[in-house]
């Protein structure tokens, strides 16, 4: 209702302008090499980003799944902080670290006596890939790590006892068992990078263009709505195709798994090898995630004349002659409010949807799965315009309603929840449910007594994603938020909209608060358990 109707409206209106069924535009699209090149670039950068993220994050997932160490929850919640940062802010952080006048180049030039900076990442493909890994690290760690922590170590140990080498155990036992989670997480990362916008536009510079960037350029700056619509359609069709491949792989890889509670699967860090392995992953997190975050925090306390708290102080001040009709700090409340509504909404939509997807008996379910992922792959601009023309009559005249914000966020968030829950749901052995039914449990009792305890942790992972996505969302929020109810990301953009040291400092202070709120939200959510952990 809130997705297909607006989408169909905007595509309909736009295509009608471009000749019968948009034929003129489609002709132009394929006659020009430029669009083919954009398409090719969009695909390969997304694939490469996904592979790189997997390579960096899988060892991390193992560490979080199998080891017990102090501060684990805190570090885990820190890994997801990048997810909420606006791309302008991430660009500033990387600039401070890796820019031509950044920290690293400064050191290298000093240490090696170089005449020019050795690292020139800005506006290169490397910057895009680095940023994608930075953003998506936590997606892999969270989804795969959570699944991994529930796998019985016994299976692998048995293989080892029978004489298999550690590598063989990993590739022939662990990887196949993990496949559903790896596939689900990779698909999310891939689609996320496939429809990447801010990262490409700001970090990559204007030489790189994805379909999403091209849609924005055509729709907003060239007024070429038919072309934008055709590109949106193309983006959707491609995503459907990728999803089709994924669902096929997923179905053939789904194995029933008997799970263990965390207390059994976790082990202490013992021995040299463990220390090196965990330490190496800690280093990756430190360099990849913590360094840029720390750079931002330093900037928020640092003015040209040294240490200062002025930027934070001014966030609490209400001035009539200021960028906001309220004290900027109030944006925190709106952000958290919208995020919690999104969390509730998307979990209550995604859970039934995920359960529905496990009913293999129905043919339609196979088509439903890719379709449910579509909102993630639809251009925010297209959908935003769709909302404008579709939801304009009572009872759906929601165009100016505040409820539109959590609704829009839910559209983006619930595919993440579905993807987090689905692997866990599919892994539940059929016999468990059947046994419960035979013993006289009603379907509801089966759901709450058997299914929920097993998937509860996966639901929490999904809920945390919903919370994060809402906190960090910008594209849809900017179209519907009122000046009186800004979110934190909007506030950051508003500060960065005008020159001056105060504005920059306040933007950095607000970014630091944004990170703190996100990490705090995680820590709290981690403490809530929907039900007792499954002990099967």
């Amino acid at each position: 209702m809130f997705f297909f109707y607006p989408l169909a409206s905007i595509l309909g209106v736009s295509l009608r302008e471009g000749g019968p069924w948009g034929s003129d535009v489609i002709g132009r699209l394929f006659s020009s090499w430029i669009y083919v090149r954009v398409l090719w670039f969009t695909t390969w950068q997304a694939a490469l980003s996904t592979v790189l993220t997997l390579a960096v994050a899988l060892p991390g997932a193992y560490v979080f799944a199998r080891y017990r160490f102090p501060g684990k929850t805190l570090i885990l919640s820190l890994t997801a902080v990048p997810f909420v940062l606006p791309s302008v802010v991430v660009a500033a952080a990387f600039q401070a670290l890796l820019g031509e006048r950044g920290l690293l180049n400064g050191w290298l030039m000093g240490a090696l006596n170089l005449p020019s900076p050795p690292i020139t990442l800005d506006h290169t493909i490397w910057f895009i890939l680095l940023a994608h890994v930075f953003y998506n690290y936590s997606v892999i760690v969270r989804i795969v790590g959570n699944y991994w922590s529930r796998l019985r170590p016994v299976t692998a140990e048995a293989a080892k006892m029978l004489g298999a080498s550690p590598w063989r155990v990993f590739f022939e036992i662990t990887v196949p068992l993990l496949m559903p989670a790896i596939l689900a997480a990779s698909m999310l990362v891939f689609i996320f990078c496939f429809s990447s916008f801010g990262v490409i536009l700001i970090l990559g510079g204007p030489r790189f263009s994805t379909i999403e960037v091209e849609i924005y350029r055509q729709a907003v700056h060239l007024f070429n709505l038919p072309m934008a619509a055709v590109l949106s359609l193309l983006q959707i069709l491609l995503t459907l195709a990728f999803m089709g491949v994924y669902t096929t792989l997923q179905r053939s890889s789904s194995l029933p798994v008997y799970t263990e509670s965390r207390s059994v699967t976790e082990k202490r860090i013992t021995g040299m090898k463990d220390w090196i392995f965990v330490g190496a992953n800690g280093l990756v997190i430190l360099i990849l995630l913590c360094a840029p975050i720390a750079a931002l925090m330093v900037r928020s306390f640092h003015a040209q004349d040294g240490f200062t708290l002025d930027f934070y102080r001014s966030l609490f001040m209400y001035r009539d002659q200021s960028l906001f009709p309220i004290a900027p700090i109030a944006a925190t409340l709106y952000s958290v409010g919208f995020a919690l509504s999104t969390l509730v909404l998307s979990v209550s939509i995604a859970l039934p949807a995920a359960v529905l997807l496990t009913w293999h008996r129905f043919r339609i379910v196979r088509f439903l799965d890719p379709v449910l992922m579509l909102p993630l792959a639809t251009s925010a601009v297209t959908l935003g315009f769709g909302f404008i023309i579709a939801l304009d009559e009572p009872p759906l005249n929601l165009r100016t309603s505040l409820a539109l914000i959590p609704l829009a966020h839910t559209l983006v968030a619930y595919p993440f929840v579905v993807r987090s829950v689905l692997p866990a749901l599919r892994s539940i052995p059929k016999e468990l449910k059947e046994a419960a039914s035979i013993l006289g449990a009603t379907p509801l009792q089966v759901f709450f007594g058997v299914i929920m305890p097993i998937v509860s942790r996966a639901v929490m992972v999904g809920a945390v994603f919903a919370f994060t996505i809402s906190i960090g969302e910008f594209g849809a929020t900017v179209l519907v938020a009122r000046p009186q109810t800004p979110t934190m990301t909007l506030a950051i953009y508003r500060f960065l909209g005008q020159p001056g040291e105060m504005n920059y400092g306040c933007a950095m202070a607000m970014s630091t608060l944004l990170m703190a709120v996100t990490a705090g939200g995680f820590l709290l959510l981690d403490r809530i358990r929907i039900a007792r952990e499954g002990e099967f």
Partner: protein, 353 residues
């Protein structure tokens, strides 16, 4: 918390969420009339200015921000059959041809127009009324040029000199409004025949192109960041903003604007009454109000652009640190809207591909 409690909570909050819009709708009947102003995300105004208007006319003013200038205009066009607002503010002279072609606005010959200089009134039919203007031009980092003992550039031709190699960052005209304005300045200055040649030479002299103003200014400009470019395309009002938003009081702006003849494009922003408004009378009063002194004098420190009303006084930070171009580049809005797409495509081919 157990499962059932969570579920009950979900249901309750969902139910509450559903009733909120319903409540507000019922209340509307007894409330004072609501005047909606649709605008872009950079719109700012002091609260007291809006309050004064609400009290004088017994109404409520709702500001509806709808993304950047291009996105907001597109939304107004898409919703023209059932408009979202009564007034649209924030169309500039690069977008006005499109807005007029779509026939979005009611003409209104506001009495306030007589206080506005004739060269700003680009639409003689009174559908788009000038509210403010800003000069898009080169800004440079004063300390950088002083340190290197180089004279800052003073014209567009200067930018091609070998001494200024790798110093300039501009915004992509296809995704940024100051970027487009600067492209138009070069077209106005070198003509439709010459501008591509200029950009090709600029490219070989190491011009850097950013996606938008934020990245160019906060990411690449030496005066505002760890960037490497001491010359940036920004506004003539950026230096006063640097002073006004400085942390420690400054006697001098750290940056300066180049406003020599033939280097500046003047962006004029307009307001108009949307066709299909339910409060035409109130909408006219609000447009009058926007052109009057209190609103006009509020503009500079809120949006860092210049008021259109010639009798509006400027704040000290503007009189002291801002300079205005005496001869901005002249380019007809109709020519702009006819050629806009072709110019952008030609520029993209020459500079990016």
């Amino acid at each position: 918390m157990n499962t059932h409690k969570i579920l009950v909570l979900c249901i309750i909050s969902a139910a509450v969420a559903c009733t909120i819009p319903a409540c507000t709708k019922q209340e509307k009947a007894s409330e004072p009339p609501e005047l909606t102003v649709m605008t872009h995300d950079s719109f700012k105004v002091s609260e007291r200015i809006i309050k004064d208007f609400e009290q004088s006319y017994g109404c409520k003013v709702v500001i509806l921000k709808s993304g950047d200038a291009g996105t907001a205009l597109n939304q107004a066009i898409l919703s023209k059959k059932n408009p979202l607002a009564d007034i649209f503010y924030g169309i500039d002279n690069t977008f006005m041809g499109r807005a007029l072609k779509e026939d979005l606005f009611e003409p209104y010959n506001a009495p306030g127009l007589r206080d506005i200089p004739g060269e700003l009134i680009l639409d003689k039919s009174g559908r788009l009324l000038p509210v403010d203007f800003g000069d898009v031009c080169l800004n440079f980092d004063k300390a950088w040029f002083a340190r290197k003992k180089i004279t800052p550039p003073a014209s567009l031709e200067d930018l091609l000199k070998p001494g200024y190699k790798d110093l300039l960052v501009v915004e992509n005209p296809a995704t940024s409004s100051p970027g487009l304005a600067f492209l138009l300045a070069t077209i106005g200055h070198f003509g439709e025949e010459g501008y591509i040649e200029f950009w090709k030479k600029l490219k070989s002299n190491g011009v850097l192109v950013s996606g938008g103003w934020e990245d160019a200014y906060w990411g690449q400009f030496t005066a505002a960041s760890k960037g490497t470019r001491p010359v940036v395309v920004s506004y003539a009002s950026s230096p006063p903003a640097e002073v006004y938003f400085s942390k420690t009081p400054l006697d001098e702006a750290p940056t300066a604007a180049v406003v020599e003849p033939g280097t500046v494009f003047r962006q004029v922003e307009f307001a108009g009454i949307l066709k299909g408004t339910k409060h035409p009378e109130l909408a006219r009063r609000f447009v009058d109000y926007m052109l009057n002194i209190p609103f006009q004098e509020d503009i500079p420190l809120q949006m860092f652009v210049f008021p259109a009303n010639k009798h509006a006084g400027l704040p000290e930070v503007f009189t002291k640190y801002a300079v205005l171009a005496e001869e901005p580049v002249a380019l007809n809005p109709d020519t702009i809207s006819t050629n806009r797409e072709a110019w952008i495509e030609a520029w993209t081919d020459a500079v990016l591909r």
